[in-house]
Amino acid sequence: MATSEATGRTGASRGPSRRRFLSGAAALGASAALAPLAAGRVRAQERKTLKLMSWEQFQPGEKDGWNAVLDKFNQSQSQYKVEWTGWPASQYASNVVIQAQAGGIDADILMAMPDLAAQTIRKFKFAEPLDPIVADLGITPSGGHAFLKQDGKLYGLSAIDVNFALVYNKALFEKAGVKPATSADEWVETTAKLTDRPNQFGIALTNTIADGGEWWFQLQNFCLPYDGKWAEGKTPLANSEATVKGLELWKRLYEAGVPQGTAQGAIMKLAADGRVAQAFGVNPTVVVLRATNPDIYPNLLSAAPPWASRRSLDRIHPLMALNTSKNVEGAMDFIKFAMQPDIMAELMETNLYVIPPYDLAAKSEKFKAFLADKPWVSGFNEAKQVSPIDVMGDFAYVDDQFGRIIMQNFQRALQPGGSVKAAMDAAQRQLEGLAARI
């Protein structure tokens, strides 16, 4: 194992003890107590505290990388000290909304999921433009940043960027004598071949409304196999031919080899136990599977989305500076610090993030070497990134509501004898109603 991979469980024992103290639970309360221990450091009381609101401090595979960024920033200057605040991912967005409704988000820097980011910029109007950082660092943010722009200004920079590809278990593929599919029909075929219910499943696709966030996250890509779109501007295209065909592909996969009606958590466990041959997922899926079962990691590889265009959605979770903060400058300083090529490259290596926020490979030899060293990232790199705005039109800002309408109707199509076209016709009518309100 390369040193850069020593994250997750092994990371804790590797890091210096101070970092462990500063990580997660102890960070907020322990700072005063630790000040005397940190020789030569400016005393904590004299610094202004910057609150970084996020869910990353709770992520088992990723918190170490982020703690290192905070640590380095805190040591790099004597004016500010960044501390974590926030909630685990499943409750994160609702708690941020509660804060916004209660008079303001109690943080200086906000990390947000795509939907929450769009709302923070457009509805709450709490975000500060980050164009000066982009100019200072001379970076070119990736195309996916389009949804973070308003009136020509950029309000967020990617902290975590994920895209979709086919993640597969090499061992199971070899045993069945198949290769990753490159076309839709082939995909259904290999999936069926790799399925032996209930012992082995050909593909992991989230498929219940109880896991609606994750389901829509994946399903959203299925307008792409036949080059369709969900919407253009304010016109929904849910029942357009290409989109319906894409969903029919999903349905064929569902019938061929998905654990139907099984919860996302159980599907992930099946995958970690080596009972799922492939998944249509994002790069952190690999990190999670590795955390659950380190033995599975060497078997995991990725392939480009199995359709001609190889296009898949790119979902940016940005860092934003909140204009409600008393320390906007400090917040900007931190984001700028985190975006520096060497800092970002190390974060990406530690956390196995493979999609950089900007042209990082051109700026960091280290990062280039890291990508070359990871066999499983090839599929993610071959995938062509598509911004949500490109397929969602104006609905990109009401993404969850759009997704809910699609999933509810699509679920009818999954019942015996259900028709995808009929379901999407119904969805289209509801979406036209939604269009009138945005």
């Binding site: 967005a93 609702s94 909304v97 509660i98 409704q101 709302q119 509805k123 219910r197 209930p198 219940t208 409304i209 109880a210 896991d211 609606g212 654990p259 139907q260 009606g261 099984t262 919860a263 958590g265 159980a266 009401v398 969850d400 509501q401 809910r404 999933m407 509810q408 109707n409 679920q411 009818r412 999954l414 019942q415």
Partner: protein, 304 residues
Amino acid sequence: MQAATAMIGGEGDVRVRRGVLAGKALPYLLVLPVLVLEAVLILYPIVRGALFSLEGPAGGLDLDNYRFMLADPDFWRMLGHTLVYTLTVVVAILVVALGVALLMNWSFRGRGLVRSILTVPWAIPDVPVAITFVLMLDPTFGVFNRLAGLLPFIGEDRQWLLDPTLAMAAVIIVTVWKGFPFYALVLLAALQNVPDELYDAARVDGAGPLAQFRHVTLPGVRDTIALLAVLAFIFSTQQFTLIWLITGGGPVDATTTLAPAIYLQAFRFYNFGYAGAIAVIGFLVSALSTVAFVVVQRRIASEP
């Protein structure tokens, strides 16, 4: 307001004696701390929350959210689901709780253990409860299908959470399982307050166990059952966590009741005003049902 006295005990009121504490101020002094606490920490936020519903998208105050809601077919379907879920839960939970309370009220060896076992569902946090039931109901690996396979007519390939009717049944079963210990505990307290003399008298009159139940036990706990029916109604309209984690309001929207609908609007769709409007309607439905129930209950109580 007069209606509420139905559930407010009538008999044996303590008459005024004398002294400072016997003055007219006494009852007000006794309830004052509760009144202040509720007014500041609960009632004020309720009013503030209700005001969200008047906030239009432009920021002004208007009734747009209500207008939109009443024209929204999803809203009416949601109300229907809420009604089915709530009424079934109320009836089922009270029947189960009464049965269990009667069991717990018997004296037998190991009663302490039985009482503890029957309290466990209440003690387990919602999240593990939901996860366990989802696993048990899993169409592929679930034990429900295995057990159902042992019974005739059901078969072992039920898609519990993918079938709208079965999904509703499933969330009702889980709600009752998780919730009944509370109702059983309160009923047990009420059963323990039924004077033994009444049972003795009934037995002297030659009443069997069933007659004793009908003529002594039930009248003794009737007011408590009425109170619990109101509480079960209120609480089940507000059930969120279990439904959300087990079905997410699906399949389609079959289990989207009031609380999940409000959550979706407020925290997923960022329509706080619309969420507020649904909440106000939910509040009014609960309030009016409670008052109506109390009136009916009073009528029945006053009949000879």
